[in-house]
Amino acid sequence: MLLVLARRLANVVPTVLAVIALVFLLFSVLPGSFISAMSEEGRTIDPAVMERMRKEMGLDDPVPVRFAKYVAHTVTGDLGVSFRTREPVTQLIGVRVWPSLKLVFAAMVFAITVGVTLGFLAALRPGSIVDTVSMVGAISGLSLSQFWFGLMLMYLFALQLKWLPSFGYGDGGLSHIILPAVALGVGPMALLARTTRAAVLDILNADFVRTARSKGMSERLVVKWHVLRNALVLVITIVGLQFGSLMGQAVVVEKLFAWPGVGSLMVDSVFQRDVPAVQGCILMIVLFFLAINTMVDIAYVVIDPRIRYR
């Protein structure tokens, strides 16, 4: 287990460093100055104030100096100060992490429960109505535009049926999270349904399943004793990849549902040219991705003995 972690870490560190460098590079060529962080409809900006702020933020230093400072600070966990709100970026992002995690987890719970179940049922009865319907549903889910689907959910469940609140974080309760989680989870759900079906079909054709059948096992036991765990290994890869990238993919849904997550903060910060905040958000999203993938690696070790002893 420690070995896996160590090996993983050796892979992660260069990736994180590369991300830091890339993000800095991208945003040092971004058009639009710091003024954009302050501008608002129709209001003029005092040039003297801007000049002073530039100095204060160290934006007049040459790029290499800024890069060196940036890297030095980032490595120590200091992500700088937001251009826009002037609070530390760590604090700015800190309050967004929990809502973001909640949304991502909820979306994944939806995707896994619905997707894996559908995939399983479809694989156990290939060619049946269940199979056809769930697979047509899955491929349709993959073809949906996220914001469009979200808007439709909003209109149907909030406005027409009045079952759920339409937007926002509310008190952090369950009712507010359902619609955004479904809108966000529909893509991974579709993908998981398809992967699970393929994986289970693969395994149902595997030699060891034939062995199990030759033992005189009922199909239910075959699935329970021999298919589930093996399918899990295949499914978990996709779950990991989806899960990890979901925080970044949540941008659109967070914007639409006014969900206070990291993704929406990032987009707003891009538009406001709040470079330290953008850098912080991307770093956060990447770290989340890497953390999830590390967890998936550990999950493999737990599930698959072949890896443990390798």
Partner: protein, 275 residues
């Protein structure tokens, strides 16, 4: 895979062919100019005889705009996926072939691309270049090549282990020749599948970027920008969004079905590689 291989191939093929036809024949089948035929007196007319899909806030015929929009949306899909395939295959082939430091570098880059969600990457590029078709092509064409890269690299490594490449070298073939004659044909099938599925992704990404305000540069229409512009009127003038929304859905569905169908033919062993 979903339906019988043949069925999804057929339905997908027909949908995609229809979209292609609309794009190519736009000047012929469109009723009006998509930009200049604006007439504010005709604004927001529901679908009817004169305007089959209704008109938008500017009084432009939505049907005609969808026809012309097909050109942009399909261009985005095709060009960006061609870019992705070219980048991915080039990096993957060379990395697998030459190995060593270059391979490490490419693998690192692939990991990086996987770690940063492509939508965010595209968003950053769009912010740097500003909205517009060229920016969009660059943003979507540079950000999702990791699949084809991995595919190409894996194929080279497998051929290497089977001794094909040594054999070709002994015969005096050059590196490039080996890559093109030995490796490329082997991955063409799966590559086409990845690209087909990727096209659907690119069209959806264009819509998402339009929603975020970083899409195509109006007034020339793209489906994503039409959908995005119409979202505020979803209650008052639903046809503004229903038709572009449906068009996007059917086209992407077509591409996904086609990809599935092609995979059954071109890449039969890949049941679980990419669902």
């Amino acid at each position: 895979m979903t339906l019988k291989g043949g069925t999804s191939l057929w339905i997908g093929g027909i949908l995609v062919a229809l979209a292609l036809f609309v794009a190519v024949a736009a000047p012929v089948i469109a009723l009006t100019d998509p930009v200049m035929a604006a007439n504010l007196m005709n604004a927001e007319i529901p679908p009817g005889l004169e305007f089959p899909f209704g008109t938008d806030v500017q009084g432009r015929d939505i049907y005609s705009r969808i026809c012309y929009g097909a050109r942009i949306s399909l261009t985005v899909g095709i060009v960006s996926q061609t870019c992705n395939s070219l980048i991915g295959v080039t990096l993957g082939l060379t990395a697998g072939y030459w190995g060593g430091l270059w391979d490490d570098l490419v693998s690192g880059l692939t990991n990086l691309m996987l770690a940063i969600p492509s939508l965010i990457f595209a968003l950053a590029i769009m912010a740097i270049l500003g909205p517009g078709l060229v920016s969009l092509l660059i943003a979507l064409g540079l950000t999702s090549w990791s699949y084809s890269c991995r595919l190409a690299r894996a194929q080279v490594l497998s051929l290497k282990s089977q001794g094909y490449i040594q054999a070709a070298r002994i015969l005096g073939y050059g590196d490039l020749r080996i890559m093109f004659t030995q490796v490329l044909p082997n991955i063409l099938g799966p590559l086409i599948v990845i690209a087909t599925l990727g096209m659907g992704g690119a069209i959806l990404a264009e819509a998402a970027l339009s929603f975020l305000g970083l899409g195509i540069r109006p007034p020339f229409p793209s489906w994503g920008s039409m959908l995005s512009e119409a979202r505020d009127q979803i209650n008052t003038a639903p046809w503004l969004s229903v038709f572009p929304g449906l068009t996007i859905f059917l086209t992407v569905l077509g591409l996904n079905l086609l990809g599935d169908g092609l995979r059954d033919i071109l890449d039969p062993q890949a049941t679980t590689r990419r669902a």
